[in-house]
């Protein structure tokens, strides 16, 4: 559940970003201070997570586009390309990742 009174967010990274965030912050999840809403892209920059390593983000258990607005109290995870196919459809990636250069769009479609 999202705690609106919190001034922090909980951040995770998966696949190669798991090791990246553990090395940078020493633990998982990373608890970040956040007083005002922030875009996923800004959060990624702040945490030195390259955009092209993120296909979608999870916010409070739902798949969202990378520029989704994150609020204090949210639970966030960065997901690089690498989630196997049928689950990417079943969990709704296709409605969220089409504007993202890190999505699995094949060259012919770009």
């Amino acid at each position: 559940m999202v705690d609106k009174d919190k001034k922090t967010i909980e951040v995770r990274g998966f696949l190669q970003l798991d090791a990246h965030l553990k090395k940078k912050y020493g633990s998982m999840p990373v608890i970040m201070e956040l007083k005002e809403p922030i875009r996923g892209t800004e959060l990624a920059e702040k945490m030195e997570v390259p955009w092209d390593e993120v296909e979608v983000i999870f916010v409070n258990g739902f798949v969202q586009a990378l520029d989704y607005i994150i609020h204090p109290g949210d639970r966030v995870a960065f997901l690089p390309p690498g989630c196997p196919g049928p689950y990417r459809i079943a969990m709704g990636f296709y409605g969220k990742n089409q504007g993202n250069p890190a999505s699995f769009k094949i060259k012919e479609r770009q």
Binding site: M1, R12, F14, L15, Q16, D18, A19, M28, E55, F58, G61, F62, V63, A77, L79, P80, P81, G82, C83, P84, G85, P86, Y87, R88, I89, A90, M91, G92, F93, Y94, G95, Q98, F104, K105, I106, E108, R109
Partner: protein, 587 residues
Amino acid sequence: MNKFIRVNMTTLKVTTEEVPAKYAGLGGRALTSNFVADEVKPTCHALGKNNKIIFAPGLLSGTSAPNSGRLSVGAKSPLTGTIKESNTGGSFSQKMAKMGIKAFVIEGMPTDDKFYVIKIDMNGVTVEEAPTEILGGCGNYEAIRILSEKYGEKVGIGVAGPAGENRLPSANISFKDPEGNIRSAGRGGLGAVLGSKKVKAIVIDDTGAERVSIADPEKFKAASKVFAKAILDHPVSGQGLAAYGTTVLVNILNEAGGLPANNFTAGRIDHNDNISGETLNATITERGGDGKVSHGCHAGCIMRCSQWYPDKNGKYITSGFEYETIWGLGADAGIQNLDDIAYCDREMDDIGIDSIETAVAIAAAMEGGLIPWGDGKAALEAIKEIRKPTPLGRIIGSGTAVVGKTCGLYRTPVVKDQAIPAYDPRSVKGIGLTYATSTMGADHTAGYCISGNILKIGADIDPLKKDGQIEYSRAMQIGTAAVDSTGMCLFVYFGVADNPGGYQALIDMINAQYGINLTSEDVDKLGESVLKVERAFNKAAGFTNAHDRLPEFFEYEPCPPHNAVWDFTPEEIDEVYAFENEEATNC
């Protein structure tokens, strides 16, 4: 491939015929399911003399096509009572194809109590008494070692482990992989069918076999190159799976709230970091020794999603350490130690029991008070009981539905008596529809591939909503049935799903091999036709739409963190197979 071999275990006679014309264009699942529908009495007892078991390579097996070495095994399932196709890696399929064997069938059953080994080589097929040292509780690792020593290190082997010998409904058939370890035709109890026919093992030696002939080698080579590139260029099949294996899904499903936990009472756990693919990778890397982060289950695999998991001293424990097994023991049964789960996985491989069915059965046994929650050591001891088998071992080895009944549980996660795997149908509804309606019982691999326009199908999917899910499940099941018939690993789909060129290359390879002109529409029709045949068998066996339902508890027990329930009506569920009554078309 023009040989169709039958071994009659009642008479111990072998017949080798030309492939019947009606099976000429079929391979893999399309062949096994059509054969079972044609020759197995739907109402027969799966462990009786009227069941038959068939082994078939795919249409592309034995060629240089990447990832084409999968084997389909078909029969009536003793676990579900439905038709069953179970699919495996190893070297068996490619050897069959190179030897020109389109299918190998075992029928009848002996009246005595002897177990046999069937040996197939270029001189023919022989049926011999099984060596006593591989019987009566001998593990599969040791049985494969003994058989390889006797028949040659390079032979392919399929073996019924102790679970199969004892005809337990969750018994699998274990296949020797290129390094002598184990891959499994896991689901549906086909090891019990082999055991019922008193076949302990099948040994295949392709010494002297020619290469598989290709009608248009240049076209095949070109298509194969495009296909390999589509797989290797893709972040999932080219990088993600090789680094983290299928266990990459632990963190992802956990985050989505769709990782079933504590016998399907929650969709998220706190100890996900202990059992994640990322931790699996880091542990194997850190321990070194025999450990391999990436490994192929059959020659020609370029995705290499398997791995060798070592102990703290670097000594091999297990391989093919899959997401569904780690989920079942780690989340559903709450075991937090990855080493404990690895030892359970090794024991299940050694006994020859389906690790998905057994892991879910262990979780149900924990809820039923037979095993303490989350206790990995106690779970391992319970699994060891299956080898003997003690009464507890027989109960667990009979699968989740039997454990649920034995323990008086209403929360028994099965469809058609097969355990629901690692994706909660309340939080990922499209997969729930596939569990409910699949011809195989609850099976995540029944809905893995779409051959049509993925964007059209997938653009509007919200995992918690109904919109688009019926079309998603239908398209996935049709596409999967088609790919299962090629001999391709289902994971090739990850590489070709977003790439029309990659999918076309798969079809081009089939066309080049056989000198035909299939289109993608033909392949869709093949998938549909396979499902129709399977549904017809199940109906004749007594199954109706009323069996295409999830257990009732999913309707009234919300799954945290999203607190979703299963809310598809029976009429909506039945829409998934609305196409089955459409007129059959050529394929």
